[in-house]
Each structure stands twice: as structure tokens, then as C-alpha cells.
């Protein structure tokens, strides 16, 4: 199958069907090839000729697709390298980190819980220990139709801290976190809400740090940093710990620095209720209410702010199966948001060009896994079915390496930069293993995207709590458990 190739400047010895690109195709391909670092003088001097036993259309389809994929991946790679360099060398923006004295506004703190008997007490007890004025915060455990002992445990904690916790036990209505949030928000009489998942362990100063950006009337949502608490459990948790570092310490903060689009992540985050109402409230027909809200706020003229010092412990998956289900769920939700918001985002005149471009790239980030895998397939097909008359080996190898390596290494570069900034010792040694997590995630995301297109139909799906497995053990009886604290 493999056709012979010519040496540069030598006689053309080729079989198959020579294909000459049309005028527009030649220019486009020329631009792509130049971007692929093949623009030497000698190369330009000769026309590009492809040969394939499967025909010219086949050959050109593969080549054009390959270059499109390389271009896309290179764009993301550059974006991630840019983020890392910005974090390491650029000017950092923490405009609200220094607001320590304030007349703090009243806030309602939601703790979303569906069968969370193992972890709900820890979250509530930690919230009772934060240094936010007690008379200005109301904690609302949002118990959505739990069938385990979640309700019992919540009621026991409520009794232990009288007047400070107002439980919201939901027994009917549409399932899912977004639907529960929608119902619970209707009961709120404060201007701000903060949302936690039940496995989170808020630290002492966390609420103040999440609330500080709301003194800016342009801020609609605030996102804090998530730190894995069970990172020492096994290799997966250690890899996820590294991934989280890269994602928050570098990616989110760089987007904050550069005035791009930091993302509200659905937990460890606050929302201005007025802004939420202005953009239509919670949508209970979405798979990722957090991404959906980020973009609706952006389109509605509200900013999302990332607070890197607003750190909170969470529990990360300890088995690969749980991790695969989790990331598939995220990917589907994100892709749904992409489907809904990309067109409006790109045409939103009130947003800056950089916000529009970065917002669109952020929306497309979960598409890159299937695109990458498609690139692998095309690379193989190119190698075995197409002969390029023009420095072909270099082209194929370059294409393969570019999409395979740049895309991966850029993310790894972020992780390395993050561990450096976290001064986190030896854990960066595990960086080389991240290819494993990367590969599993890529396959899971690609499967998720495929299911979404073929089975779920984008935009329509049955909604249910897709709960992540917890690894802490539930207290033996409500009210008898110890009082977990951060770092315990």
C-alpha cells in the first residue's frame, strides 16, 4: 500500500492517481502547510502532489481533515501554553483578594445532596465553623429525595446548631441538581447564594473570599478553587490531584488574568440572585447547569470571577469506572452548552473579541478528545493509503506528532506550572503518568460525545441525579459522628 516517495529535487517516481488541487485549495493548503512548519523555499518551489490507490478525493479528504485537526489542536495547545506562561511570568490579577474588611451581605449557602449520608455532615459542620458573620449566612442543605439516611443526618445537625441551618427537603418534582436548585432558589430572601456539593469541606475563610467579588456590581458569579482531599488514596486520585491543580491554579487563573472567560463550576461558587433572575434563572433541562449559567451570564452582561485563594477540599473518584462516568457526564453537559450558546456567543457584540474567541474555545474543549482520536485514525489512514510527493514522511510524522504531542504536552505543561506554583514537592514526579489519565479521559469523552449524538440526541435527555460515589463512611447514627475539619 505504501507508495514510494521522492527525494527532494529528484525524479518523481509514483504510482496511483496524481491529484492537482484547485486554485482555492492550493492557497488554503499552502497556508496550512506553512503553519505546519513546512514552508521552506525548496518546498514552495514544487506543486503538492498526492497519490492514493483509493482515489484523489480520498487522499485530499484525509489531508485536509488532518490539517484541520492539527490546526484545531495547535490552537488549543497554544492557548494552554499561553496560559501556563501567563501564570508563570505574566501579571496576575487578584482584584478582590485584598478585600478583607467589609459590611458583608447576607447570603444563602446551598448544599446539594442526593443520598449523601456519607459526607453531608462533614460539609455542614465545616460550614458552621467559617468566619462569616453568623447572622448573615443561612445554610440550606438541599436534600433532594434521598432514600438513605441523609435527611436524618441533616435534621440531627440542624438540632445541634439551632437557628443556623434551614433544611430544604425536596420530595417531588423534576429530578436533578438544576431542578433542585431551581426550587430551592425560590425560597431565598438574600441577594446572593453559594453552592456546595455535599462532599466538600469549606475552610474557615472561604465564604468571605467567595463573597468579596460581589462588591463589584458587574460580577454575576464567583468560582473558587477545588482541592482534592483524598489525593493519597491511589494512583488515580494522585493523577486527579495534578489535573485539578493544572485546571484551577493555571487554567482558570490565567483566564482571569487575561480578561477571558473563567468558568463557574457548579460548586464552591457564588451567584448573584439578581443576575440569575435577569438571565432566566436555573434551567432544569440542561445537563451542566454550571456551564450553561456561565454562558448565559456572559451573554447577559455579567462577569464570572475566579478566586484562586478561595480553596475548598473535595473528594475525587477513587476508581476508574467512577471517573469515566463522571467525565462522560461533564462532557455531555459541556457539549450541550456548546450546542446552545456558541452561535450567540460569537455574534455577541457587547463582548470583546478575546472573550468571544476564548468562550467558544472553552465551549469546544470537550470536543477535542473525539477530534484527537479521529486524528489518530486519519494519521494511520494517511500513512497507509496516501503517498505524498512532497517531503511526505516529514509531513506525516509532523502531523502525527503535532496533534498527538502538542495537545497532550500543553496540558501537562499547565500541570507542571501549577505544581511549581503550589510548591507541592514531589508529586510532580507523577506527571509522566498523566498520559494514562489523559488516555482514559479521551476515550470516555469520545464515547460520551458519540452516545450524545447517536443515542441521547443533543439537547434532549432524561434527567436524573448522576451521583458520584463517595468514599467516606457514614456516621453510625446521626449526631454521633466526629466533627470533621479541613485538613483532617
Amino acid at each position: 500500500m505504501k507508495e514510494s516517495v521522492q527525494s527532494r529535487g529528484g525524479p518523481q517516481v509514483a504510482r496511483g492517481n496524481p491529484v492537482h488541487p484547485s486554485h482555492w485549495g492550493r492557497r488554503w493548503m499552502g497556508a496550512l502547510v506553512a503553519l505546519g512548519a513546512l514552508g521552506t523555499q525548496a518546498a514552495w518551489a514544487q506543486p503538492l502532489t498526492l497519490h492514493s490507490p483509493l482515489g484523489a478525493a480520498w487522499a485530499w479528504t484525509l489531508v485536509v481533515s488532518m490539517f484541520a485537526i492539527v490546526l484545531l489542536l495547535a490552537t488549543y495547545a497554544l492557548r494552554h501554553y499561553g496560559f501556563s506562561l501567563n501564570r508563570v511570568f505574566g501579571q496576575q490579577r487578584h482584584p478582590f483578594a485584598s478585600i478583607v474588611s467589609a459590611d458583608w451581605p447576607r447570603v444563602t449557602i446551598f448544599v446539594a445532596a442526593h443520598n449523601e449520608e456519607a459526607v453531608i455532615e462533614g460539609c455542614l459542620v465545616n460550614l458552621m465553623g467559617v468566619d462569616y458573620p453568623a447572622d448573615r449566612m443561612t445554610v440550606v442543605p438541599m436534600n433532594d429525595r434521598s432514600t438513605d439516611r441523609t435527611r436524618e443526618i441533616i435534621d440531627a445537625v440542624v438540632a445541634r446548631y439551632p437557628g443556623r441551618i434551614r433544611p430544604f427537603h425536596r420530595t417531588g418534582g423534576k429530578p436533578g441538581k438544576a431542578a433542585a436548585l431551581k426550587d430551592a432558589t425560590e425560597t431565598v430572601d438574600t441577594d446572593f447564594i453559594i453552592v456546595f456539593d455535599a462532599d466538600y469541606l469549606p475552610s474557615r475563610g472561604l465564604i468571605r473570599r467567595l463573597m468579596a467579588p460581589f462588591f463589584d456590581p458587574e460580577v454575576g458569579a464567583v468560582m473558587g478553587r477545588v482541592v482534592p482531599q483524598n489525593c493519597g488514596a491511589n494512583l488515580l486520585t494522585r493523577l486527579l490531584d495534578l489535573e485539578r491543580s493544572g485546571g484551577y491554579q493555571v487554567d482558570q487563573q490565567a483566564r482571569m488574568n487575561l480578561g477571558l472567560v473563567p468558568q463557574y463550576g457548579g460548586t464552591v461558587g457564588g451567584i448573584r440572585v439578581g443576575a440569575l433572575k435577569a438571565v432566566g434563572g436555573w434551567h432544569d433541562d440542561v445537563l451542566a447547569e454550571d456551564t450553561d449559567l456561565t454562558y448565559r451570564l456572559l451573554l447577559g452582561g455579567w462577569k464570572t470571577v475566579y478566586q484562586n485563594r478561595a480553596e475548598c477540599y473535595e473528594e475525587v473518584p477513587q476508581s476508574w469506572g467512577v471517573r469515566v462516568r463522571q467525565i462522560k457526564r461533564w462532557a455531555k453537559g459541556h457539549n450541550q452548552a456548546m450546542w446552545r450558546h456558541t452561535a450567540r456567543l460569537l455574534t455577541a457584540r457587547h463582548l470583546s473579541a478575546r472573550e468571544r474567541v476564548d468562550g467558544a474555545l472553552l465551549l469546544g474543549v470537550y470536543l477535542m478528545a473525539p477530534v484527537l482520536m479521529l486524528g489518530w485514525v486519519i494519521s494511520l489512514l494517511l500513512y497507509f493509503t496516501v503517498s505524498l510527493q512532497w517531503i511526505a514522511p516529514a509531513l506525516v510524522v509532523m502531523a502525527f506528532m503535532t496533534h498527538g504531542a502538542l495537545g497532550n504536552f500543553a496540558a501537562f505543561f499547565e500541570i507542571a506550572a501549577a505544581t511549581h506554583m503550589d510548591r507541592s514537592g514531589h508529586r510532580v514526579r507523577l506527571l509522566a503518568f498523566n498520559w494514562l489519565g489523559f488516555l482514559v479521559s479521551a476515550v470516555a469523552i469520545a464515547r460520551g460525545a458519540l452516545e450524545q449524538v447517536l443515542l441521547d440526541r443533543i439537547g434532549k435527555r432524561q434527567f436524573k441525579w448522576d451521583k458520584t460515589v463517595r468514599y467516606r463512611t457514614a456516621p453510625a447514627a446521626a449526631g454521633t459522628a466526629g466533627q470533621p475539619r479541613v485538613g483532617a
Binding site: R93, P95, F96, A97, S98, I99, V100, S101, A102, D103, D131, S203, R204, G205, R209, F215, D216, P217, E218, V227, P228, Q229, N230, C231, G232, L235, R238, D241, S245, G274, A275, K277, A278, G301, R309, E311, C312, Y313, H350, D422, S424, G425, H426, R427, R429, L430, L431, A432, F433, V486, G487
Partner: protein
């Protein structure tokens, strides 16, 4: 063949070598604890002081003679330390690396810099021109002039002398008083006063006027003081009683006089000051920007009312009477202005915008703001210039520069992507946030926080926050004029300066106000025409 093998080995090496440390770390984990979250909250301004106080208390309870690895010594009460208190090395170098502690008051001696913490349960006075690492006082902490503190200083109240260099965090349980030309980084207390001239008495406050004798007025519960010769009152003093001065009177910025002022010479009321009764002078009466006189002003010569000043109160009319009256922008008089010879108003009293402004992309509150019915928030897509005296409800976001005329009242927060200038005597109920520079005019009261990504300039006599409602002023660069009061925190990322003199000018408004500037004063230009 050999080359091929070498190539394969090289490729395998490239792939496998990075895996070796990973395999090692996986096999024998050395770093598996969760990333530390700042549970002690190091961002809390007094965190370091509290932490040291706890360590010191523990060491004293255990009577171990050292805090951590550093020796703990007892401070002599007097600044004349007995022979043998210092080691030969300390005497020779003029530096001590011991931690010093006193159970009562203490005065630090001349010629000894402290490279470790120094603490006293009562009053602690630092020696002028000396350098200290950290100072802790249970009572008042006095930093004499030109003192340098490197890490932190904390006291029940803290008095900072002129030209101190505070690269440290300075915090107090009650009050921080600052002198002139102080360089600071972080100040934190329920009340922070940029008073300029400090009270001579070590326990003195800002109440009353030093050197004045008050006597009860006949037939009245009010008291009265007579002064022969001119009287200068430093910034932020407050008193109750009538003043009769045989000479000129200069009131500092932010002074509050609950009584009348009468002078045979001229009277000058500082920016942001307030006089609750009549002001009468044979000479001129100058009312600085943002000042307030709640009763009549009578002069036999001239009255000059600075931008944003207010005369009288609603329902109790006052009279401004003089042969010549000059009135600045945004002045409010509740009552009568009676000018015998000349009445001059400076600039356009209503601050109307002309076509030139619109061509430059500057709009007014009425035409340039899109108000949201749901949130009550207004968004201006371009620069905005708001006329003097306007009042509105709701937050305002401006995607260009934002300029408020004198005596505006924003019942909400302000945000600008560019600069913000707040005209004299105005009031903002919420926070003021900008990516560009924020210039807060004289006598302005901002109830919320002031945060800029560039710089904040607090004009004379302005206030930020309120008692019981703290606020933060933060920016990479912070400059503060005399007479400013901040309830909460002032945090300068790169540099903060409490200036001895500052003059705020508006573009195109030279004349009367610029002529009053002192030689060598810092001069800031407000964006647009807002006079501070």
C-alpha cells in the same frame, strides 16, 4: 543495524526515562498529603500578630525563656537601660536578635534596632529613626518619627509618626493615627485617621483643640473659647463649643465643630469639614470643597464656596452674605445668598454635556445608561459624565471612564473599566471598583469598599466605610490626603503613602482653587471636569 538498534534504544530512552521518577514516586509515595489550605487565613491583616501573641503567651506560661528558638528577654521599663542588659555584641552592632517582652509599659532605647519581635503588655514607644522587625503592644503603640517596621506592628491603638516607613502590616484593635509623609503597606483597624499633626500627649486623641481653654458661656450650657491671635486647627479634630478668634482661623481637613466660629480676620474651612453653627468673619471666608456649614455665613469681605460644599440644612434656612460671593460647582445653599457687589458662579452649575463630549464618546446619566428592570443595574457602554448634584438608585457599571460631579449621591455601587473620579462632597452607598485609577474627591463619603487594579487617591477629608460597617481600600498604589478616615483596611499592593499635602484639580479649573495649593504638593487631575 547498529545504528538502528541505537535509534530504538534512544527512542525507548526518551519514552521511559521520564517514567522512572513517576514509577519511583508511585512505588514509594513521598508526597501524598492534600495541598495545604490556608486555614489560619494569612490574608487576615492581624494574623501574624495574633500568631506571635499566642506563641508568646505559651512561652510565658511555660516559663521556657525562649519563643521557638529565639531567646526571650525582659524589657526594662525606662529607655535608660541598666548596664549589662545588652550583650557586648548588641552594644557593638546596635542590633538585638532577642525577643523582648515587658509586662507593663516600655520605651525602647536609642541606638538599638530590633531584629526580632518586641512586645509590651501596656504602652510601647519605639525610638525615632530606628528599625524593628515586629512590635506588639497591649496598650498604645507609639511609632516615633522615621521608624521603620519590617513585618508587622499591632497595638490596642497605634500612633504613627511623620515619615515612618511601614513595609509591615500595621493593625490595631481600636484606632490607627497617622502623621505626615508616612509610607505604608497595610493598615487595619476599626478607625484609621490620616490626621497629619499628631496629639502631643501620648494618650491624646483627636477630641478638642490643644492649648485652648474653654469656659462656660453666660446663660447657656454651651461653652466658649477666646483666642488671641491666629488659630490653626490640625485635620480631623472635633470639639463642641463656640470659638471667638482675634485673628485668622484655619480649620484642617475633616474637622467637626459643634459650635460657631467668629474671627476678626479670615476663616478657612478645610475640605470635608463641618461647622454646625454660624461662621462670621471680618475677612474672607473660604469654604473648601466638600465642606459643610449648617448655619449662616457672614463676611464683611468675601465668601468663596468650594465645589460640592453645602450651606444650611433642609428646613432650617441659612444665609450667605458678603459683598462678594464666589460659588463653585455643585454647591447647595438651603436659604439665601445675598451678595452686595458680585455673585460669581464657576463653570456650568448643571454640568450639561455639549456636542464635544458626545463626539469624544462621553455621555450623561440620562442618555448613556441602559437600566435593567430586573436588577435595577445600569450599564453604560461608553464613558459617562454625571452632572453635579444628581442622585440615583441602583448599581452603575461603566465600560469607559466614569466621572461624578460634585455632591452626587449614588445609592448603589459603581464600577468602571476605566478611571473613576468622584466629585467633592459626594456620597456612594455601595462600593467603588475600577480597573483604572480611582480619585475620591474632597469630603466624599464612600460607604463600601474602594478597589482599583491601578491606583486609589483619597482626597482630603473623605471617609470610607462607617463605624460598624467596615470597608477596604485596596490598589497597587494608594495615596491618601490629610483628614481622611477609613473604617477597616487600607491595603497597598506596591506602595501606599499618607501625604502631608495634596491638591486635587479638575481639568480646566485652574484659577481659584489651584492657587490655594501648597508648594511641593502632590497634584492629581481628575478625569473630565469633576472638581474634587
Amino acid at each position: 543495524m547498529t545504528m538502528a538498534l541505537l535509534l530504538i534504544l534512544l527512542c525507548l530512552g526518551v519514552v521511559l526515562v521520564p517514567l522512572l521518577p513517576a514509577l519511583s514516586e508511585w512505588h514509594r509515595p513521598t508526597d501524598v498529603t492534600p495541598l495545604a489550605i490556608d486555614e489560619a487565613d494569612a490574608l487576615e491583616p492581624d494574623c501574624l500578630a495574633r500568631r506571635f501573641a499566642a506563641r508568646l503567651d505559651r512561652a510565658l506560661q511555660l516559663d521556657v525563656g525562649q519563643v521557638g528558638d529565639t531567646p526571650l528577654s525582659t524589657l526594662p521599663r525606662s529607655s535608660l537601660w541598666p548596664v549589662g542588659t545588652l550583650t557586648k555584641k548588641e552594644q557593638r552592632t546596635g542590633r538585638t536578635e532577642r525577643i523582648w517582652y515587658s509586662a507593663g509599659d516600655a520605651v525602647l532605647p536609642q541606638g538599638l534596632h530590633g531584629l526580632a519581635e518586641i512586645a509590651a503588655r501596656g504602652l510601647l514607644r519605639a525610638a525615632a529613626g530606628h528599625t524593628y522587625r515586629a512590635l506588639l503592644a497591649g496598650g498604645r503603640l507609639l511609632l516615633s518619627s522615621r521608624v521603620r517596621v519590617m513585618r508587622w506592628a499591632h497595638g490596642h491603638s497605634v500612633v504613627v509618626g511623620d515619615q515612618c516607613q511601614l513595609s509591615a502590616r500595621v493593625s490595631a484593635d481600636e484606632l490607627i493615627l497617622l502623621g505626615r509623609d508616612v509610607h505604608f503597606s497595610l493598615l487595619h483597624a476599626p478607625t484609621i485617621c490620616f490626621a497629619g499633626v499628631l496629639p502631643a500627649d501620648v494618650q491624646g486623641g483627636l477630641a478638642g483643640i490643644e492649648g485652648l481653654t474653654w469656659e462656660a458661656a453666660e446663660g447657656s450650657v454651651a461653652r466658649r473659647a477666646r483666642v488671641e491671635g491666629s488659630l490653626t486647627v490640625p485635620a480631623l479634630r472635633h470639639w463642641e463649643g463656640d470659638l471667638a478668634v482675634a485673628g485668622h482661623v484655619w480649620l484642617g481637613e475633616g474637622c467637626v465643630a459643634r459650635g460657631s466660629i467668629q474671627a476678626t480676620g479670615m476663616i478657612s474651612l478645610g475640605a470635608g469639614s463641618m461647622v454646625s453653627a454660624a461662621v462670621t468673619a471680618c475677612g474672607e471666608v473660604y469654604v473648601a470643597p466638600g465642606a459643610q456649614v449648617r448655619a449662616s455665613i457672614v463676611s464683611e469681605s468675601a465668601v468663596v464656596l468650594g465645589p460640592g460644599s453645602v450651606i444650611g440644612v433642609p428646613g432650617a434656612h441659612a444665609t450667605v452674605r458678603a459683598p462678594q460671593v464666589d460659588i463653585g460647582k455643585g454647591v447647595i445653599v438651603h436659604g439665601t445668598v445675598w451678595s452686595g457687589e458680585r455673585l460669581l458662579t464657576v463653570g456650568d452649575a448643571f454640568g450639561e454635556l455639549d456636542d464635544g463630549h458626545r463626539e469624544a464618546g462621553v455621555y450623561s446619566l440620562d442618555e448613556g445608561v441602559d437600566w435593567d428592570d430586573v436588577t435595577g443595574r445600569g450599564v453604560a457602554p461608553a464613558s459617562l459624565s454625571i452632572a453635579p448634584g444628581r442622585r440615583w438608585d441602583g448599581d452603575l457599571v461603566c465600560q469607559g471612564d466614569l466621572e461624578l460631579g460634585p455632591r452626587c449621591h449614588a445609592a448603589g455601587a459603581l464600577k468602571a473599566h476605566g478611571d473613576i473620579g468622584l466629585g467633592a462632597g459626594g456620597c456612594v452607598d455601595g462600593s467603588v471598583i475600577a480597573q483604572g485609577e480611582i480619585v475620591v474627591g474632597a469630603g466624599v463619603h464612600v460607604r463600601g469598599s474602594v478597589a482599583s487594579e491601578t491606583a486609589v487617591v483619597l482626597g482630603p477629608g473623605c471617609r470610607v466605610g462607617s463605624p460598624g460597617q467596615p470597608a477596604t481600600v485596596t490598589a497597587p498604589r494608594v495615596e491618601v490626603a490629610l483628614g481622611v478616615v477609613v473604617h477597616g483596611t487600607v491595603w497597598a499592593g506596591h506602595s501606599g503613602d499618607a501625604l502631608g499635602t495634596m491638591q486635587l484639580l479638575a481639568e480646566g479649573d485652574g484659577g481659584d482653587w489651584s492657587e490655594r495649593g501648597e508648594v511641593g504638593a502632590q497634584v492629581f487631575h481628575l478625569p473630565g471636569r469633576a472638581v474634587a
